[in-house]
Subunit: 337 residues, 2 copies
């Protein structure tokens, strides 16, 4: 099962049975609205607070995935989930409603792939027949907590990114036609000394590169193995930093092969500065858009490298730099196989 130092290969090929993606109005106006199951027109989702709206986003994405799988919630043995809100209350409160045994995770925006890695390990090892994993972010809830309430209209530098309002979840099981989760590489914390919370992409890029290199080394493959290597939410700045670092280390990837979820979800004329971010970014883009493209046959082997900035408003105030992490999961799909 373990391959190299920090990679798991899943010999029983856990299957992504279904997914659920639920987003807000701004994401519905973006580049890939057809790939989402539900688009809400109301940023509040009819709730009294943005935090409650975030909880409902996650609940709905779970329910959607369960419904699409043709299951009942009683069939799901475990949920592995987390989010960016203090004490991951959106995930925990959603699991109160769902009444499914729950393991809380925190990996900031890397949570999507932390959950998929652990979930695939559990299903691969016969620890569950059906397991759900996912994550969520809400622009106004997250901005309020990490920066300023959006109602203030505070200006931001061009390196800043736009937190996605969206939840993405996947149900894993032990047999089926795919897509399959074939391997996962767990990240270590990388901190290059950057401290600007308005340039998360730049801070996270070295962690993404560290994990990509570890993944290829551990598996004994090179980048030609994959049709697509996609990072979570580096945005324009971080994506370029990652390209530069990979080039420096002798790995040159085409624009088609090396992409970023943070540059896929919004249109170019949406005012999102350097791109998208937030737990919901890679979760909705991968579980919505990219899996749909895989199923259409556009590519067969994808490595998703979700990145997370492990800071808090308090550590920033205490003048700490930003520790970052990236977890990578490979997903493969070939029709009829």
């Amino acid at each position: 099962m373990i391959k190299g130092h920090r990679t798991w290969e899943f010999e029983n090929k856990p299957v992504i049975l279904s997914t659920g993606t639920v987003v807000g109005p701004f994401e519905g106006e973006g580049r890939i609205p057809k790939d989402f199951d539900v688009i809400h027109g109301d940023l509040w989702l009819g709730q009294d607070s943005y935090e409650q709206a975030q909880t409902v986003l996650f609940e709905e994405s779970c329910q959607k995935a369960i419904e699409k799988a043709g299951l009942n919630k009683e069939d799901i043995q475990f949920i592995l989930a987390g989010d960016l809100i203090n004490q991951i209350t959106s995930s925990s409160f959603a699991c109160r409603t769902l009444e499914i045994p729950y393991m809380g995770l925190f990996g900031a925006c890397s949570t999507s792939m932390e959950g998929l890695a652990m979930g695939a390990f559990i299903v691969n090892g016969k620890g569950a027949k059906y397991l759900l994993t996912g994550t969520v972010s809400h622009n106004a809830a997250v901005e309020k907590q990490f920066r300023y309430p959006t109602e203030y209209g505070g200006q931001k530098p061009p390196t800043a990114q736009w937190t996605v309002t969206g939840a993405g979840t996947a149900i894993l099981t032990d047999e089926g036609e795919g897509p399959y989760v074939t391997s996962a590489t767990i990240g270590r914390v990388v901190d290059m000394g950057l401290s600007d919370p308005f340039n998360m992409g730049g801070a996270m890029a070295p962690a993404a590169v560290d994990t990509i290199e570890a993944h290829l080394r551990d598996r004994g493959i090179d980048s030609s193995y994959y049709d697509l290597i996609v990072t979570g939410d580096l945005g324009q700045i971080g994506h370029q930093v990652a390209i530069d670092l990979l080039n420096k280390h002798g790995m040159s990837l085409t624009d088609q092969k090396f992409q970023d979820c943070g540059l896929m979800i919004y249109r170019e004329d949406q005012p999102v500065l350097a791109g998208a971010s937030g737990c919901g970014c890679s979760a909705t883009v991968v579980y919505g858009h990219l899996l749909n493209r895989m199923k259409k046959g556009e590519f067969k082997k994808m490595l998703v490298v979700a990145t997370g900035a492990l800071l808090s408003p308090l550590t920033f105030q205490q003048k700490e730099t930003i520790p970052c992490i990236a977890h990578a999961v490979s997903i493969e799909y070939e029709e009829g196989k």
Copy 2:
């Protein structure tokens, strides 16, 4: 591997190879000081903030466990850890120093057993040769975040509990003489409608009972199987509520069999109101005191049921009730077997 609906039985018997426990001065004056590896006389640990002190507590407990196992940090493949501080920065910052691949968890005070359950699953499934799991809390850092800075000297009701300053970690591996991790039951979120953040024990007790019952049902055993069933940090109030609930459900346990870590760490004349709490409570008591007693032959089979209150200061302000969870892990040890 899966047994019943939400329990794992570990047929390869993952071993707790070593543990590290590091505590503050108040815990050093308590009931079980000889069971801790390091007792700090300075609540600040020489740091500039309580949060940094919490990070150092966790780093030291990891280093102590690694040293006692006769390993180097490069031998440890994964750390599974989390804490109560927003965005679990104490755990993440410690993992920056340790440079070991890291999966962040959040289960509030249930994190100790969430990590041990997942860690044992990974080692049992050949996902790691050596894996470290643990958690930490610091009284002044946690009180500041959840209630008031301790310097204010605010009064508390008698139902309140005292957050432990301490870190407890364990290294798991796939062979050795034990103690063995034999099974784990994952909790679901239980919320009985209580909303008083000064009575966490009472709020958490139903979650503990739910998990104990699920564990026994899933494994097809009754409480006579265990020599000790110990909850994480219910304190006096929660412990009594749990006893009442178990009695009501027809399960009557002796005082010797059913205990609580929150009632073990401090002396009766220490002013801790209803007892101890915090992520570090069950982690230091189990990985220090209880494993030592097992190794002395005092008991052979123990079920640890770590409880967590999944609220945040914000959810309390928003008038939410307190969702709770409990994860149970069984540990067995018999000399010469």
